[in-house]
């Protein structure tokens, strides 16, 4: 059992969720409420990671994060480390990769709030921030929860992109999914089986938690 890899995966998933939560509130809300030029294109762009082969996606990220690219260059001059094959690079890749899993459900969550309810919040004198906190978030919360659970679970299981961008450096970029692959390659079926079972248990627990929470929300609104 590779505890380091498991801990790394959990940290990666945690950071991804932490970064994507505010981002999905911001972008999900924007896409749900506003009409603007290029909205369809933006939505398509966000969905792109869903349909692209992980290796192709990983390859482009590798190029984008390289020291010769703008993103990689700026990162290197700021932090003094390269972005590829680092935990930070993995987090960034994971954030981009999970955009569709986070933003889509968040957008649907905000879209489910009737326009008149949002307008009523304004007409009750609630500022945009107070309207977000008191009315919109409590109502869009099932969508946001789904978004975060999907992101978390998906990050734990991601393999292709992580391998491309991160390599397999123990304690830095070797996630549990890669560790399992590693063990299978080494004919260590027992370790692979234990780690797979742990991953399965975590996935099952997260999904159950979501269902339990949304059932509670459903009762609260009923």
């Amino acid at each position: 059992m590779d505890w380091t890899a498991l801990w790394l995966s959990l940290r990666l998933a945690g950071w991804t969720v932490l970064i994507l939560l505010p981002l999905s509130i911001l972008l999900g809300r924007l896409l749900a409420y506003r009409r603007f030029r290029g909205k369809g294109f933006t939505e398509a762009l966000i969905m792109l990671p869903l349909v692209m082969p992980p290796t192709v996606f990983g390859f482009y990220l590798l190029v984008a994060f390289g020291a010769n690219s703008p993103v990689g260059g700026i990162w290197q001059s700021l932090v003094g480390r390269q972005l590829v094959f680092s935990f930070e690079g993995l987090v960034l890749a994971s954030v981009v990769l999970n955009l569709p899993f986070a933003i889509q459900p968040a957008q649907r969550g905000f879209e489910a709030i009737p326009t008149e309810v949002r307008e009523a919040a304004q007409c009750c004198g609630l500022s945009p921030l107070r309207s977000l906190l008191k009315v919109e978030l409590p109502l869009a919360w099932p969508g946001l929860l789904t978004a975060m659970v999907l992101t978390f679970a998906h990050t734990l299981g991601e393999f292709g992109v992580v391998l491309m961008v991160g390599g397999s450096i123990p304690g830095e970029t070797k996630t549990i999914a890669i560790a399992i692959y590693d063990r299978v390659q080494a004919f260590d079926d027992q370790s692979a089986a234990i780690m797979s079972a742990v991953l399965l248990a975590i996935s099952l627990a997260t999904i159950s938690l979501t269902f339990w929470l949304s059932a509670r929300v459903g009762r609260r609104l009923g």
Binding site: E116, A120, A121, Q122, C123, C124, G125, L126, S127, L221
Partner: protein
């Protein structure tokens, strides 16, 4: 504390209006759907900005496209009741009202909210969520929430359209009673002339974003242009009656102040008091009591007033023993029968022209 508004816009919803609502006055904006009446209301609330507009309440400018003043919706002191009520579904009735009390000190909020809920006749239900309230109860919560802000202008957007007719009558009565507490200008948007007549001090008829006619109910009802803008089917008069007996052929006999009438069988026991809605285009007018006619209901009447339009139609106001009955007939018939004020005549109404839905049981 008056509300002044003028607005001009070419599209997407054309607007060209200008009006003032006095403090304590209830003005009804009446028109078809798509006439622009809701857009006017939304402009006042700050949910829509016409291309050129000037809106001020109590002398405070809310919107002036000339000078660039545009107060955001949450800073305009309006109370609004939406057609769908738009209550916050995750909050109790009480919390909904409290949500609009940003200006009230924290410790006074609950007391004030309870006061408002009892003002709108909703005691004991303050901890229920909107989903556990009936349509009429939700409407009362929405009204209490609108008043909770101590609004400088009260806006009602078809607030009665989602409840059944009996509840609507009760809510009308409550709103009329409530109005003695209200000193702000109120704008009611409705497509129902009867509702406007029940509640409003003044009616503004609107069509294609323009004010067609402004006046009291009586004035509006006799303006052909206004009637056209509203659709003639809205012309309805109400006759009080009492159930006398259910007859063996399925008809119910009722007595009205002007005489007996027969209607298709009603679900009311003898003695029950009802209100019969009579559509003006279903009424026939005759100068002499007709003989051998299939219509069962012939009531003596006196012509009280007349209004002819530019078209072939006319409205005759009949006096039936002190009650007003409206008849839509052709201008040709008006002349052929020489109907003029004071002329005695007979109002004829087919029994089958009164739908069961048109008879409403008196609540009191």
């Amino acid at each position: 504390m008056a509300l002044d508004m003028s607005a001009k816009a070419a599209g997407p919803i054309p607007l060209d209006v200008s009006f003032r609502v006095a403090p304590g006055e209830l003005m009804a904006l009446v028109g078809h759907s798509g006439s622009g009446k809701t857009t006017i209301l939304r402009s006042i609330a700050g949910l829509w900005t016409p291309a050129h507009a000037n809106i001020s309440v109590s002398g405070e400018p809310w919107l002036d496209t000339e000078t660039g003043v545009d107060l955001p919706a949450h800073r305009r002191r309006v109370g609004i009741v939406f057609q769908s009520y738009a209550l916050f579904p995750h909050m109790s009735a009480l919390a909904n009202v409290v949500a609009a009390m940003g200006h009230v000190p924290r410790r006074d909020k609950v007391d004030k909210a309870m006061e408002l809920l009892s003002l709108v006749n909703l005691p004991g239900l303050e901890h229920r969520k909107p989903a556990a309230l009936s349509g009429g109860q939700q409407q009362r919560v929405a009204l209490a929430r609108a008043l909770a802000r101590e609004p400088a202008a009260l806006l009602l957007d078809e607030p009665f359209s989602a409840v059944d007719r009996a509840t609507r009558q009760i809510l009308y009565r409550e709103l009329r009673a409530l109005r003695s507490h209200l000193r702000m200008p109120t704008v009611l948007v409705t497509h129902d002339l009867e509702e406007a007549r029940e509640l409003a001090d003044r009616i503004v008829v609107i069509e294609h974003g323009r004010l067609v006619r402004t006046g009291t109910t009586a004035e509006i009802m006799f303006d052909p242009a206004a009637l056209r803008a509203m659709g003639l089917r809205d012309l309805v008069s109400v006759l009080p009656a009492a159930v006398e007996a259910h007859e063996h052929d399925g008809l119910t006999r009722l007595s009205t102040p002007a005489g007996q009438i027969w209607l298709p069988g009603l679900d009311a026991s003898p003695g029950a008091r009802v209100q019969v809605r009579i559509h003006a285009h279903e009424v026939i007018v005759a100068r002499q009591r007709p003989q051998e006619i299939s219509a069962l209901n012939v009531l003596p009447a006196v012509v009280k007033g007349l209004a002819e339009g530019d078209g072939p139609g006319a409205v005759v106001r009949l006096d039936l023993a002190g009650h007003e009955l409206l008849a839509r007939i052709t201008a040709r018939s008006v002349h052929a029968l020489s109907l003029e004020e004071g002329a005695p005549c007979f109002a004829i109404l087919k029994s089958m022209a009164v739908a069961r839905d048109d008879v409403q049981h008196d609540a009191s």
